[in-house]
Symmetry: C2
Subunit: 432 residues, 2 copies
């Protein structure tokens, strides 16, 4: 049987998982690949003690793998931007195929990397960069090719989804659940990338590029995290028939493409609303197929390794044939499609407003909405506690352009009856 | 741009949809395929009046398409076994690639068809044969290649799922909902294939083959339909925290492979339990990735066309390149894995037993269970109406081999207190 030699850079969680699974399932993997996939060279700053590295070359400098003439595929699992970028470019220059799980790398440097790979005639595969073990890149790029993708919406950060799920189930505040997630190893010591939506924005960039055949444009993603969501919001959302999910949304409209990451009220009737805990899910709406949904573990040692190895199998199956699938699905990306600023996006809204409990407050709020041509769909106003002079209004607003909503919010915020900053969370029907 | 010439056999629902979508999305499809996919020849018994066939060759005999030297890919959408089989074999003999949506054809004649295709070096693609527009064959064959698949479970017949959903939501009996499904066009005039599980068994055959690298063995699938499910069972299942779904299940055990289609109690906590109406979903448990789920429309004009065209794009991308993906994912299928008879399958059970309302009935039932080493997990016994002398017992039985359960049921059925045939429905935890 033919061999394919793999150089593995990074032996952390995912690197170790890749090493293990390749060993454990060696037989079925090589049957499927039609070749024996064999790790011949590894490089990592720290060598884990639980891996048997006796039969492979070991380097401390990852660049040595990129330059190893014996390596045919370099697997980049070191993460981060700069070194990973240099490593991947060096591997491509040396004619190696590349498999990576690095969403930041692809979202930020992908256009350049893919151009270099095309020049060299090598494959760059990155299934593991989005939604962990769920083969959603393959689904979009190869399974839904008949469709004009109208929109996609994904729970693509497991940490964020875990936090929101726990906030709902235990009525806990954000900070407490974050601490718990950190204790469980679901959140990093510095949780910024997860809770501020940056990780999700990286992934959304990649999904949107494939869905709409546009260049990777990470900087144009509107990004809002979950740090301001309160247990109160989660409870009100429930009461209104919604779950709060942190979604990455990409939508094609006549004016252009929306790319946005933010907390979102999702109707409970949607399957996406039932995706709890650290799981990920991506829903794709195609004009021919309608809605399809892909669900599973979005991170973790072996789920991510599963996607890395699937890419290795693809490389093994394809390398040396004349078959060449462009990384984003088309040879020529459409550079002329505008990414819309958030002000042009149309969405529904949930507003939570703390007001003085006096006659006519609701009328003032309603007046502002009417002036701005905004329709109120539902209102919750609770009886205030006898000792309180404040009351919370919760409004569901029908779909309207964000800039209209912004104008109304600015006006509302001027009203003397409104006591605090208004909380605004977007609402998406997801086809309902 | 290169061209690829397609001959389309069958212009019914899916054929018409394929024709329409190929036309409507011609630009994006050809960008993705890297070639212009062009229908040059169609054949059908009845020509629909709503398609503009002015620029294509039209035949009444589908065999003419198989022999048309100008056609490079034949799309078989005529359905059925015999003619479809002859058509596809003739096309392969003439060196044409084949795309088909015909699950019966692949499940029953697939081994032979794939052997002929290998001989001729042509592609046979069949994504549309399972779960309509959901790219689940691609996910299994290409997206999860790192994994030893432990089991998969799917709602793979939309008609059956629609009927069960309506029975639950409206507390209606099977016959009434079937009539409604027929009126809506969800069920055929002769609903046998759907409600008796044959259609699901065809699809399960295909999924199991890919998951476990075994030959297609339709005849070995245990198949049980939904015709005996009552509204009462659906209600009791709900009460116990389950939904009744008609599942196709394939499982790898140390003794062999299970392939079975039957009504199943699924815990409400599982996403699969939330898949309602005509939608399909397949859950796959891999040893590395864990559980992933694929959901979407399992049938219909354009969803099925979406999968047919995805296959056409794959053929266009791959034809002539030297890249050859074996149809079931591996070149050499494992002929030696046993398909287990149902008697050897381990499962949980739901039993509904109509008994005489007298002292000691429950003890007699419990005795039989104990004698057969069977554990009862939960019991529902309702107060009988004052004017009734009969009472319904509902039992949940912990996992046990089917032959043990059979033995216990036979004994139970002998008890004089038991007044009617016992209803038995299998229960699957799906990893919980």
């Amino acid at each position: 049987m033919n061999l394919i030699n793999v150089g593995l850079c990074g032996l952390g969680t995912v690197g170790g998982g890749t090493f293990d699974v390749l060993q454990r399932n060696a037989d079925i993997i090589s049957q499927r690949a039609g070749k024996q996939i064999r790790i011949t060279h590894v490089a990592a700053r720290d060598l884990p003690s639980d891996l048997d590295l006796s039969s492979v070359k070991v380097s401390s400098d990852v660049m040595e793998v990129a330059r190893d003439p014996n390596v045919q595929v370099l697997v980049e699992l070191i993460g981060g931007y700069q070194v990973a970028y240099e490593l991947v470019m060096e591997a491509i220059r040396h004619g190696k195929h590349v498999v990576t799980a690095n969403k930041a790398l692809i979202a930020v440097h992908g256009n350049e990397i893919f151009a270099a790979a095309k020049e060299q005639g090598v494959i760059v595969a990155f299934e593991a960069s989005v939604a962990g073990g769920i083969p959603v890149i393959k689904a979009l790029r190869e399974g839904l090719t008949a469709n004009e993708v109208q929109w996609l919406a994904g729970i693509i950060n497991g940490t964020g989804n875990f936090i929101l799920t726990e906030m709902r189930d235990n009525q806990s505040p954000f900070e407490a659940v974050l601490a718990q997630a950190q204790a469980l190893g679901y959140a990093e010591a510095d949780p910024t990338f997860d809770v501020e939506g940056i990780d999700a924005a990286h992934k959304l960039t990649i999904l949107a590029s494939i869905a709409f055949s546009i260049p990777l444009q990470f900087k144009k993603v509107y990004t809002e995290g979950i740090t301001k969501i309160t247990a109160e919001d989660v409870r009100y959302a429930q009461e209104l028939g919604y779950e709060i999910k942190h979604l990455g949304i990409a939508r094609r409209t006549v004016e252009g493409v929306e790319m946005r990451v933010h907390p979102t009220l999702v109707p409970k009737s949607k399957l996406l609303a039932d995706v709890d805990g650290v799981l990920n899910a991506v829903m794709v709406q195609g004009d021919a197929v309608g809605p399809t949904l892909y669900n599973g573990p979005g991170a973790g040692r072996e789920p991510t390794a599963s996607a890395v190895i699937a890419d290795l199998v693809d490389v093994a199956r394809q390398a040396g044939t004349g078959y060449r699938l462009p990384p984003l699905g088309v040879e020529q990306l459409n550079e002329r499609i505008t990414v819309l600023p958030m002000s042009e996006v149309v969405s529904g809204y949930y507003l939570r407003i703390l007001v003085d409990d006096r006659v006519g407050v609701m009328a003032s709020v309603a007046d502002v909405m009417r002036e701005n041509n905004i329709n109120i769909e539902a209102i919750i106003q609770k009886e205030p506690n006898p000792d309180q002079k404040q009351v919370t209004l919760v409004l569901l607003i029908q779909e309207v352009k964000e800039k209209q909503m912004d104008a109304a919010l600015e006006q509302l915020q001027q009203l003397p009856e409104i006591l605090d900053a208004i909380t605004r969370i977007r609402v998406e029907g997801l086809g309902s």
